[in-house]
C-alpha cells in the first residue's frame, strides 16, 4: 500500500483492483439482467401463444354451445300421420311427422308455390324436428288433432345465418341460402319466431352428417373407454416392468439391450404403433376395427415406454438408506418394494403416467390406422362397441364442408381440453394425496 501512495501518477493511470472489480461488476449485473430477461421473454412468448390459441378457439367455438330454434304452430293431424289408434305405439312410432312440419311451414308461407320453392322452405327446419314431434306425441297422446306451438330445431344454414346476423342484416353469412329463404328467416326474426337456446344436442348425441344434430358424446365415450383400457393395461405393466428392471434385473448385456430398446421405443412415431396394432390385433388376432379395446391396446403400447422410464426414475430416487433400513429389519425384497419403494415412488410414477395418458388422449394418428376414424352415430356403451375418439372427431369435423362444423370443431377442441384438464387435475390431486408431507 505504501507503494501506491508514493506513486500517485502510476495510480492515476492504472485503476485499482476495486475499480476494475466495480467496473466488471456493473457489466456482470447487466449480463445477469439480460439472462433473466431472456427467460421472461420466453415465458411471455409461450403465454402469448397460449392466449392467442385459446382466444381463437373460444371465439370460434363458443357459438356452438347455442343452437337456433324456430317456433312453429304444428297440428298433430291424425289423417296426415295416418294414426287411427292412438293406443298403438307402433303407429305412433312409424308416422310421418315431417309432413306436419311441412304443413305448418306451407301454412305460414303461402308464397312458396313451386316445387323447388317448397323444397327450399322445408329445408329451413332440420329433419331432426320430426323426432322432437314424435317424442312429444309419445309422451302425451292427447296432443293428437291438437294445434300447439313448438320450438323446433332449425337447419344449420339458418343457424349460421342467424348467429352471424347480429343486429344488421347486411353482416349475415348467407351461404347456400337463396334470397327467398333469407326473406322467410327475416319474417321469423320480425315475428320473434326464432331464438337461440343452449345446445343440449351437442352433449347428448353422437356424430351426424347434419351439423345441427351432431354431438360430441359418442367421441367422449369413445375417448373414455379407450383411455380406460390404456390406463388399466399400461400403468400396472409399466410399473411392474420398471420394478423388475430397477430392483431385480441383473446388470448384464441383456438388461442394457432392453433398456436401450425401451428408450428407443419412446421416440418411435405414434403412427408406427398404429400399423403394429393393425397388423397384430386386427390382422392376426382378428379383432374388429374401430373398437376402443384395440385403440386402448395400441395406445398402451405407445404409452408404456414413457411410463417405464418415468417409473424407473421415480424408483431410483428412493433413498438407499430406506431400503437398507427395511432390509436390516429383516424385510424381504418384495416387502421392501411393496412397503417402502412403491409408496415413496408412487407420486413420481403418477407424474410420468399423467404425461403418458395426456399424450394418449390427444393421439390421432395410430387410431386412424385401426379404423377409429369411421363415421359412427351410435354412442358406444363399452369397449367392444365401434367408436371414435375426441381428437379424431375434431379431425373429421374440421374436414367437413358445412360452415356450422367450423364452430363445432372449435367447440370439440374445448371439450377435449376440458377433458384433459379434468383428468390432469384428478391425477394431480391423487398425487398430492399420496405425497408424504414428512
Amino acid at each position: 500500500m505504501t507503494n501506491l501512495s508514493s506513486q500517485p501518477a502510476a495510480n492515476a493511470q492504472t485503476p485499482s483492483t476495486m475499480d476494475l472489480v466495480n467496473k466488471n461488476l456493473a457489466k456482470r449485473y447487466r449480463a445477469e439482467k439480460r439472462f433473466k430477461a431472456y427467460g421472461i421473454a420466453a415465458i411471455l412468448f409461450g403465454l402469448a401463444c397460449l392466449v392467442i390459441l385459446f382466444t381463437d378457439i373460444v371465439s370460434k367455438g363458443h357459438s356452438a354451445f347455442l343452437q337456433t330454434y324456430v317456433y312453429l304452430e304444428v297440428t298433430y293431424d291424425a289423417d296426415t300421420l295416418e294414426i287411427d289408434d292412438i293406443n298403438n305405439p307402433q303407429q305412433i312410432a312409424i308416422a310421418d311427422y315431417s309432413a306436419l312440419v311441412k304443413a305448418s311451414l306451407r301454412q305460414q308461407f303461402t308464397d312458396a308455390k313451386s316445387r323447388k320453392e317448397r323444397r327450399n322452405l322445408y329445408g329451413l327446419v332440420s329433419n331432426g324436428a320430426s323426432f322432437t314431434l314424435r317424442e312429444s306425441l309419445e309422451d302425451n297422446p292427447a296432443l293428437l288433432n291438437q294445434t300447439v306451438g313448438v320450438w323446433l330445431l332449425a337447419d344449420d344454414d339458418v343457424d349460421t345465418y342467424y348467429k352471424s346476423r347480429g343486429d344488421d342484416k347486411a353482416d349475415a353469412f348467407v351461404g347456400r341460402l337463396v334470397p327467398k329463404q333469407v326473406a322467410w328467416i327475416e319474417t321469423w326474426i320480425t315475428n320473434q319466431q326464432i331464438k337461440k337456446r343452449f345446445n343440449t344436442t351437442f352433449f347428448t348425441s353422437g356424430d351426424s352428417r347434419e351439423p345441427e344434430q351432431a354431438g360430441i358424446l359418442g367421441a367422449m365415450a369413445g375417448s373414455l373407454f379407450t383411455l380406460l383400457v390404456t390406463i388399466i393395461l399400461s400403468f400396472p405393466i409399466g410399473v411392474a416392468a420398471a420394478v423388475y428392471l430397477e430392483e431385480y434385473a441383473p446388470k448384464n448385456k441383456l438388461t442394457d439391450f432392453i433398456e436401450v430398446n425401451i428408450n428407443n421405443l419412446a421416440a418411435v412415431p405414434s403412427i408406427i404403433f398404429g400399423l403394429l396394432g393393425l397388423a397384430i390385433f386386427i390382422g392376426y388376432f382378428e379383432m374388429h376395427r374401430s373398437l376402443p379395446l384395440v385403440g386402448g391396446l395400441v395406445l398402451s403400447l405407445m404409452t408404456l415406454p414413457t411410463i417405464i422410464i418415468s417409473s424407473r426414475a421415480a424408483i431410483k430416487s428412493v433413498p438407499p438408506s430406506i431400503r437398507d433400513a427395511a432390509l436390516g429389519l429383516g424385510a424381504s425384497k418384495m416387502q421392501v418394494i411393496l412397503h417402502h419403494v412403491l409408496p415413496l415412488s408412487m407420486p413420481g410414477m403418477l407424474t410420468g403416467a399423467i404425461i403418458g395418458f395426456a399424450q394418449a388422449l390427444g393421439e390421432t394418428a395410430p387410431l386412424l390406422m385401426i379404423g377409429m376414424v369411421a363415421f359412427i352415430v351410435d354412442i358406444p356403451g363399452g369397449i367392444s362397441d365401434p367408436s371414435t375418439v375426441l381428437p379424431v372427431q375434431i379431425f373429421l369435423w374440421s374436414d367437413s364442408p358445412e360452415r356450422a362444423f367450423i364452430e363445432r370443431t372449435s367447440a370439440a377442441i374445448m371439450v377435449l381440453l376440458a377433458f384433459l384438464i379434468t383428468m390432469n387435475t384428478f391425477a394431480i390431486l391423487l398425487r398430492n394425496r399420496l405425497e408424504r408431507r414428512w
Binding site: 438408506s321 437398507d324 427395511a326 436390516g328 429389519l329 429383516g330 424385510a331 412397503h339 415413496l344 414428512w438
Partner: protein, 275 residues
Amino acid sequence: MNENDPQISQDITNLITVGNAFSEHAKMSMRNVNVFYADKQAIHDVSLDIGKNEVVAMIGPSGCGKSTFLRCMNRMNDTIDSCRIEGDFRLEEDDIYHPNQDVVALRARVGIVFQKPNPFPKSIYDNVAYGPKVHGLASSKTDLDEIVETSLVRAGLWNEVKDRLTAAGTGLSGGQQQRLCIARTIAVGPEVILMDEPCSALDPIATAKIEELIAELSQNFTIAIVTHSMQQAARVSQRTAYFHMGKLIEVNDTKKVFTNPEHELTEAYITGRFG
C-alpha cells in the same frame, strides 16, 4: 497413512493379528474372512469373536474395512452385486452364509443400526411396529402396542414421544431419530445388534445419550459397534478391534488398547499419528 514416517510405513502383507481375538462365550465367530469388491480385496483374512453380552468396538482409519466387516455379519452386503465374501461366519452354531440360511431369519436375530438415522417416512409408531409386523411377532393390536412401548422405553425415547406416536418419525431431531432406529431394531428382539458409526451424524449431547443406551442394552444384547471416535470406543466397549487396510491388527481389552497397545500401528493410530 503417512508414507514418510519410517516407523509405520511398513509392509502389511505378513501382519498377523495380535492380542486376543477369540472369546470363550462367543455369540458370533468369524474365521478367515476375505471380502472382495470386484477385484479389490477389502478384508484380508480376519478372524474375530464377539462374546455374549459383550460390546466390541471396531476402530481404524477410513477405508480400513471395519464397516464392510460389520455389514457382512448380517449379510447386508448381499445387496452389492460386486461383493464376494469368503470365510466362515457363525452365529452361535449356525453358518450365516450357508445356502439354506434364510436372510430374513438371520436379520431378525442380527439387527443393524446405520450411520445416518434413517427412519421410515411413517409415524413413530409404524416405524417401531414395522419389524414385528413383518415377522409376525404380534398376535394382536394390544401385543403390538406393548412391543412398541417396551422398545421405545428401552431406547430411552418413550417419555419424549409417548404423546405423539402418530407424528412423523422423520420430524424428530437427529438424536431422537437415531434412538428411534435403535428402538425399531430392538423391537424385532434380535440377539446381536450391529452399529455402524451410530453417532457420527449426531451432536455431543445426543451422542452421550446413545452411549448411555449402548451400555444399558449390553445387558441384554451382544453389540458390535464401528466408530470413528476413540473416546466413544473407550467409553462403551469391553474389547476393541483395530483394523488397518483390511487387516485386523490388534484385538484386546479396551483398556489395554488405549493404555498399552501391543502393536505399533495401533499405537500410531490412537496417538493420532495417522487416521
